[in-house]
């Protein structure tokens, strides 16, 4: 039988899925052990048990000064910024994507501009962002929006353009106005793509969030990571990294589930 036709059984598939995770964990444990046996107070690769103990402390013990559990405070602050940034981007991208895709005048005016805009590295413009939007929450949300909005617009307007011309002509012959075509023909086909595009842009969104929090903040997941880096508290950093990974993974999963539930007919193209 050809290799491409040989499929693993259920048990073997589960084993193969788990294998890389287990190998990375083992490699980490070995590396950590070698370093810790050379220097028991080594901070670079804390033992897995240390990370667990730190995680427990971070999740349950309130901060001495404020009495709040910083872990949840950081998580809430970051999630708020991230969801606002991604939400605003998704909303604006849907509207502008529809306009660019459907209206030739808007397309002539904006398509080129957005294409150029999406190539600007937003992190290089940080000083300008600070002076225009201040150092508060606004500039962090704006950085996320600037970071992912152009990509979303390009992706969504492209999707609208992919709608078969015949389908739009057919709607026109049935008497649909531009407005109705936008709402009843284009939008339903756009929404599954929106979820897909948002899923893809979550990675960059986290990146911009953490960058913004590293520069000026007093709470947030990225803030804490860059703060404790000052004394190489890798146990805290690794706990936060695992948490961020888990959050991002759950968000991705939730969006996939939403897409499957809300738009089951698109499953084949996802």
């Amino acid at each position: 039988m050809r290799l491409i036709n040989r499929k693993p059984g259920v048990a073997l598939a589960a084993f193969l899925t788990a294998l890389p995770f287990v190998l990375v964990l083992i490699a980490y444990a070995i590396g950590s052990d070698i370093r810790l046996s050379a220097n028991p107070s080594d901070k670079l690769l804390p033992a897995p048990s240390t990370i667990l103990a730190t995680a427990e402390r971070l999740l349950t013990e309130p901060d001495k000064r404020s009495g709040q559990i910083l872990f949840w405070k950081d998580t809430w602050a970051s999630l708020q910024r991230l969801l606002l940034g991604v939400g605003i981007s998704a909303l604006v991208a849907t509207v502008i994507g529809l306009l660019i895709g459907l209206l030739p005048h808007v397309r002539a005016g904006l398509a080129g501009f957005v294409a150029v805009l999406s190539m600007i590295p937003p992190l290089a413009l940080l000083p300008i962002l600070f002076i225009v939007f201040g150092l508060g929450e606004l500039s962090k949300v704006v950085l996320i929006v600037i970071g992912i909005l152009p990509f979303l617009i390009r992706d969504l307007s492209g999707r609208v353009l992919e709608i078969p011309r015949e389908m739009i002509v057919k709607a026109e012959t049935l008497g649909a106005s531009s407005w109705v075509i936008a709402l009843r023909v284009a939008l339903p086909q756009l929404l599954p793509r929106l979820i897909q595009a948002v899923r893809l842009s979550l990675g960059p969104a986290w990146l911009f969030l953490i960058a913004a929090e590293a520069i000026a903040a007093d709470q947030g997941l990225g803030y804490r990571i860059f703060l404790v880096r000052r004394y190489l508290a890798m146990d805290v950093i690794l706990t936060y990294v695992i948490w961020i990974t888990a959050l991002a993974f759950v968000m991705d999963l939730a969006l996939r589930w939403l897409s499957r539930k809300a738009f089951p007919w698109t499953e084949a193209t996802l």
Binding site: I215, R229, L232
Partner: protein
């Protein structure tokens, strides 16, 4: 797939494995980052003075510039370098707090105005109450602010919080309306003070000798390789003599490397108490004030939770002084002030 995973796992384990602190060796690496008192390290490498002294002792010393100060200390702590330029405070918190026994080989200078608390508009230290302050949290700036507030009977709790702000963006941050006060270091201080309305409230000249800039090296490496200490001290004090004599070539090269001109660099040197003379560095390191400063610093670090969760008290890490006395836990000495090599330089024995 499996093979590559195993391979990458093996590579991961190998590269992140044991730190490379060998016993006797002939190749050494020092890391430094840009700061007025550390610019000589870059010049030592570029001018060949380091190579000359290393050759004299039959070893090889490479001096590498790292753009991010904290990253350079983290790299040293992880074992990638034999020594790093650092302040007394960051040495205590990162390598020493991390169990890496570290020795101050060269005490280069102390900040005498290079770090400052700056307020937008009129006022004094007491007017900071109720205001947010932007600074690099847990840095010497934070320490300076704590000392300043202490001097007028305030504490950090009286502020409207401190906001961690990257030093790279400090000047841009200062220009925004949100920011009312900042604490930072040179050359940022001089740039910010040029902005109309900037008002210097407190600077490191008010706490002389507390923010010390040094070259710290791994204690074991130094003990096993005295030639390493001799070569580095020899090269450093050859250049110090040139600087003290006002050697324009050397000073201009250092000024350009730090992104300013000769006049700008000299202005920064004015707010830095450089120990051009090794005897002065020895006298400073042996002074009775140093242990007091280190206890202050340790208490600040402990108060801010920087000594780590394993630290039961501010005395968790021991610091040893040239006369053999210690502060903190004498059974856990991880930070040593050693004047041996600076003395050799002072006696011309290198």
């Amino acid at each position: 797939m499996q093979k590559t995973t195993i391979l990458s796992a093996a590579i991961l384990a190998a590269t992140m494995g044991a730190p490379a602190w060998a016993e006797q060796k002939t190749e050494f690496k020092l890391a430094w980052s840009i700061y007025v008192g550390w610019m000589p390290w870059g010049y030592l490498e570029d001018s060949g003075i380091m190579d000359k002294w290393a050759d004299k002792y039959g070893i090889d010393v490479e001096i590498v510039q790292i753009n991010d100060y904290i990253e350079s200390i983290n790299q040293y702590t992880a074992g990638a370098f034999d020594g790093v330029s650092a302040t007394n405070m960051d040495t205590l918190s990162i390598p020493s707090g991390g169990g890496v026994d570290t020795t101050a080989l060269i005490v280069g200078d102390y900040s005498n105005g290079n770090d400052a608390v700056i307020l937008k508009g009129e006022g004094d230290l007491t007017s900071l109450a109720g205001k947010p302050v932007n600074l690099v949290e847990l840095s010497v700036s934070h320490y300076l602010l704590a000392r300043g507030l202490d001097s007028v009977g305030l504490s950090e709790a009286d502020l409207d919080g401190v906001i961690n702000t990257s030093d790279a963006d400090m000047i841009a941050a200062y220009s925004t309306n949100d920011v009312q006060a900042v604490v930072t270091w040179n050359p940022l201080v001089s740039s910010i003070l040029e902005i109309p309305g900037a008002n210097k409230l407190f600077d490191s000249a008010d706490i002389p000798g507390e923010i010390i800039d040094m070259m710290v090296v791994n204690t074991e490496t130094l003990a096993d390789n005295p030639d390493f200490g001799k070569a580095v001290a020899g090269a450093w004090y050859e250049l110090m003599a040139l600087m003290a004599a006002g050697d324009e070539g050397a000073l201009t090269a250092m000024a350009e490397a730090s992104g300013t001109d000769l006049a700008g660099y000299k202005a920064q040197l004015d707010s830095t108490e450089m120990f051009f003379d090794p005897a002065a560095a020895v006298a400073f390191t042996e002074s009775a004030e140093l242990p007091t400063t280190m206890v202050n610093v340790a208490e600040f670090l402990f108060d801010k939770g920087i000594l780590g969760e394993g630290a039961p008290s501010a005395d968790f890490v021991g610091v040893a002084y040239p006369d053999g006395s210690t502060t903190g836990d004498a059974g856990n000495v991880k930070f040593r002030y050693d004047t041996t090599y600076m003395k050799m330089a002072a006696d011309g024995a290198l």
